[in-house]
């Protein structure tokens, strides 16, 4: 197990280097001039511009720039934001903590709702309860998530005035206030995931429900609750777990739409801002960080698999 994790982490190093090359090239391919941007956009003084470029290292050939960046990364230094002057690493972690709080809370609540709901729907297959759950998920799936977010804002923020609509306060600063800022974005994200995951869980359970070992569990006289949780759930969860992995990695990499709707200072927003500002160090750092998030999330999901399927040997 430990060996497996170590090997996987080692294996991810070449992946990240390749990603770094791609990121570097893509960022340089962006139109626009970072030095010009920094100096406010309309400067005709060529020498000031030259000086700025030299200061940023932009006058060096690309390979040299890349190697310099890579060397910095390996020494743990992602550089300094061109726009704000903050260290990039700090900036990313700061923004990521916002995204991670929202996303992890949303995922946890989505799992807590959709697993029982999916199991229940499958258990009551073709009854009214099942139909109700299926119809509800289809309804949610057919609404765009930014629209649902906006409607939540309108209802609970503007009309009822129960919850704040703009801004963000970290729970570590003020817990009570922080929670009120989290409720709407978490609910909005969770609703989308619940819809997808409930359907996956229901489909997975329906397939398992007809297996001999489930009938056999009933034939042992086990109560229905035990049949569902001990025999159906572990076998039905694998497809949902795959989904969770993909969704989790995608959202941690920046729930850009949700962050924009709820004006959260998250990773997605950082990314968008640094693209507009040609903030190369932040952009490169954030993209590389996102790649690392994908690698780590996938590793965690692979480990989680081995708990649900003993046939999956970690090797």
């Amino acid at each position: 197990m430990i060996l497996f994790v170590l090997r996987r982490i080692l294996m991810s190093v070449p992946t990240l280097i390749i990603v770094a090359v791609i990121i570097f090239c893509l960022v340089r391919a962006l139109p626009g001039d970072a030095a010009l941007m920094m100096l406010g956009g309309n400067i005709d003084d060529e020498s000031t511009l030259e000086m700025m470029r030299h200061q940023l290292g932009l006058d060096q050939p690309l390979p040299v720039q890349f190697m310099a960046w890579l060397r910095e990364i390996f020494s743990g230094n992602l550089g300094i934001s061109v726009r704000t002057g903050q260290p990039v690493g700090e900036l990313i972690l700061d923004r990521f903590s916002v995204t991670a709080t929202v996303v992890l809370l949303a995922m946890a609540s989505a799992l807590a709702v959709s697993i029982p709901a999916g199991l229940f729907a499958a258990h009551r297959h073709n009854t009214r309860a099942d139909y109700a759950i299926v119809v509800a998920t289809i309804l949610k799936l057919s609404m765009p998530s930014f629209w649902v977010g906006l409607m939540l804002l309108v209802l609970f923020g503007a009309i009822l005035g129960w919850l704040p609509t703009v801004g963000y306060v970290s729970v570590s600063q003020d817990f009570g206030l922080g929670v009120t800022y989290l409720i709407l974005p978490v609910t909005s994200l969770a609703l989308s995931e619940i819809a997808v995951m409930t359907r996956m869980m229901r489909a997975g359970s329906l397939e398992v429900m007809n297996r001999d070992y489930v009938t056999h569990a009933r034939a042992k006289g086990l109560p229905e609750r035990q049949v569902l949780w001990r025999h159906v759930f572990p076998n039905a969860f694998a497809p949902t777990l795959t989904m969770v992995g993909i969704a989790l990695a995608g959202l941690l990499a920046g729930a850009a739409v949700t962050e924009t709707v709820f004006t959260l200072p998250g990773l997605g927003k950082l990314l968008v801002d640094s693209i507009y500002g040609r903030d190369y160090p932040v952009l490169q750092g954030a993209l590389l960080f996102i790649a690392a998030v994908y690698v780590v999330t996938n590793l965690l999901i692979d480990i989680a698999y081995s708990f649900f399927d003993p046939k999956v040997r970690l090797s």
Partner: protein, 591 residues
């Protein structure tokens, strides 16, 4: 524990006028059955006869939307069909009525340890402590003859073979000492030797705890050995019940007679080849499977699936390749078709070595070899129509128009006993026997010289088995193909094959013309295979169960090569008339 019957004359289980329906269609009609304490009843019928539904209804576990639409089931004072509460039924399940399923591969939960699966019902139904439950489980595993049971509890189902899983199943069900055990085709998925073992164990355990058994099966010959009484189902009706001996000797109903006839399979009529050079010649074939150990850091463990096997098939000859599962018989078939890489040896077809004759030549030769697989449910693409599946066998024949291909496919369907309009259907609309006919049609449409048939009838009901064998024989007479017939059942290969090769753990242990091997099997393994598949025979007083009496052989058992000890010296010696047998010592000769 459990209620006792109030009336001593009341049987343990009584089924009156039972009707089971799915929607408006009834699958079981007017069935009356009763079972006494400790009695073993065999419930026999083809697939779809409703026998499994009766078993399920006794537990109140009919698959939806099935329901008992008439009649009643009484078990030890409980009204199963009209329980006072669902709880009453649930508490009977496991504790008083146990259930064992057909598929050992799917009836254990793959995500739970064996021990946990055995314990959970005990925890529910008894007040024993964890330690006591553990002891009982170990004791039970020992009773089903599993070695070192204490090491098994922490393992997962996929680590066991089918036979072992079914024994674990028996242990976990019988651990609660139920008064009634329903065994639904408990050994159909297993090969003959293992089947015999598992059923013997089940009978022992049931008799030891006085449990009554309903043994559901399609194979009369297999269950006849164990049953006190036999009940025969045909398409939802109970057509005959009676004591085993009486039903076998004097079957009253037509359908029973047909079932019995199928179980006898008839007189063997081996298909001998034409003289001349061998069509297929396999020399010293070896196939290895490598298994990486511990992350591949500490090398590989090599498993020798096939070791130094040589065999020949003459043109037009049926040759049997026999052995239990894991003996390497299917691997040989796959290696001949190049579906599995060889570790050594050569395969020649029609006098040409397939490895050295060049790619174009090899392809032309390989087109003359076709395969029929065991499982007709997975060997036909469910998204293709039957006509297209059969036509596909012709795709290497250039110069045929679409209409000609269509006609050839329909002709072929007719030749295998299906109607021409089947071509437009999808595989799911066909029964197992019909699908296997399609698979045969697909193989034969290109008029191959050799068919490799890998357990072509093992997945089918006995009555259908006989039909498919007869079909193969008829088609052989018409088309003249040779066949390498792979099977675990000696009695099936006896029907058609002129010569037999017996395999054990990748080694050839005996080779002989079929009549010779049946008259005087020499190798102990062959003898074990032979006694494992029971058949019905015509006796003085009607049909009776044949216990194969084997003639004594010369030489001690120790002289024969034992494949469970692979490091022993191995030598195949000729004992005359093409009868070869494997010995372990080089000097001594048996016989």
């Amino acid at each position: 524990m459990g209620n006792t019957t109030t009336d001593p004359r009341e049987p343990l289980l009584r089924i009156d006028d039972l009707e089971i329906s799915f929607g408006s269609a009834s699958v079981v009609r007017g069935v009356d059955l009763s079972l006494n304490e400790g009695e073993i009843l065999a419930l026999v019928g083809e697939s779809g006869s409703g026998k499994s539904m009766i078993g399920r209804s006794i537990l109140g576990l009919l698959p939806t939307p099935g329901r008992v639409s008439r009649g009643r089931i009484r078990f030890a004072g409980h009204e199963i069909t009209a329980p006072s509460s669902p709880e009453e039924l649930r508490l009977l399940r496991g504790r008083s009525i146990g259930l064992i399923f057909q598929e050992p591969l799917s009836s254990l939960n793959p995500t739970m340890r064996i021990g946990e699966q055995m314990f959970e019902a005990m925890r529910l139904h008894t007040d024993l402590s964890e330690a006591q439950i553990r002891d009982r489980a170990i004791e039970m595993l020992r009773q089903v003859r599993l070695d070192r049971p204490e090491t098994l509890l922490n393992r997962y189902p996929h680590e066991f073979s089918g036979g072992m899983r079914q024994r674990i199943m028996i242990a976990s069900v019988m651990m609660l000492k139920p008064r009634l055990l329903i065994a639904d085709e408990p050994t159909t998925a297993l090969d003959a030797v293992v089947q015999r073992e598992v059923l013997d164990i089940m009978e022992d355990v049931a008799r030891a705890s006085g449990t009554a058994v309903i043994l559901i099966s399609h194979d009369l010959a297999v269950v006849a050995r164990y049953a006190d009484r036999i009940a025969v189902m045909e398409k939802g009706d109970l057509v005959e019940t009676g004591a085993t001996r009486t039903v076998l000797a004097r079957p009253a109903h037509d359908y029973t007679r047909r079932l019995l006839a199928a179980a006898q399979l008839g007189t063997p009529s081996p298909v001998s080849g034409r003289p001349g050079a061998a069509l297929l010649k396999v020399d010293n074939l070896s196939v290895d499977f490598a298994e990486k150990t511990f992350l591949g850091l500490f090398g590989k463990r090599v498993h020798h699936a096939v070791r130094d096997v040589s065999l020949t098939v003459a043109p037009g000859e049926f040759v049997g390749l026999v052995g239990e599962s894991g003996s390497g018989k299917s691997t040989i078939g796959r290696a001949v078709c190049n579906l599995t890489p060889k570790a050594g040896g050569t395969v020649s077809f029609d006098g040409r070595d397939l490895d050295t004759c060049g790619a174009g030549e090899e392809q032309r030769l390989r087109r003359r070899i076709r395969v029929v697989f065991q499982d007709p449910f997975s060997s036909l693409n469910p998204r293709m129509r039957i006509g297209r599946i059969v036509r596909e066998g012709l795709r290497h024949e250039p110069g045929l128009s679409a209409a000609e291909r269509q006609k050839a496919a329909e002709d072929m369907l007719e030749a295998v006993g299906l109607s021409r309009d089947m071509a437009g259907r999808f595989p799911h609309a066909l029964s197992g026997g019909q699908r296997q006919r399609v698979a045969i049609a697909r193989a034969l449409i290109a008029k191959p010289d050799l068919i490799i048939a890998d357990e072509p009838v093992s997945a089918l009901d006995v009555t259908i088995q006989a039909q498919i064998l007869a079909l193969l024989k008829r088609l052989q007479a018409e088309y003249g193909f040779a066949c390498l017939f792979i099977s675990h059942d000696l009695h099936i290969v006896e029907q058609l094959c002129a010569r037999l090769y017996v395999l054990h753990k990748g080694r050839l242990v005996e080779e002989a013309p079929t009549p010779a091997i049946f008259a005087a099997p020499r190798h102990p393994y062959t003898r074990r295979l032979m006694s494992a598949s029971p058949r019905l025979e015509q006796g003085d007083d009607g049909l009776q169960l044949a216990e194969t009496e084997l003639p004594e052989i010369g030489g001690a058992e120790a002289d024969y090569y034992d494949a469970t000890r692979p490091e022993d010296p191995y030598r195949l010696i000729d004992t005359g008339q093409g009868h070869h047998v494997a010995l372990r010592s080089e000097e001594r000769r048996a016989g």
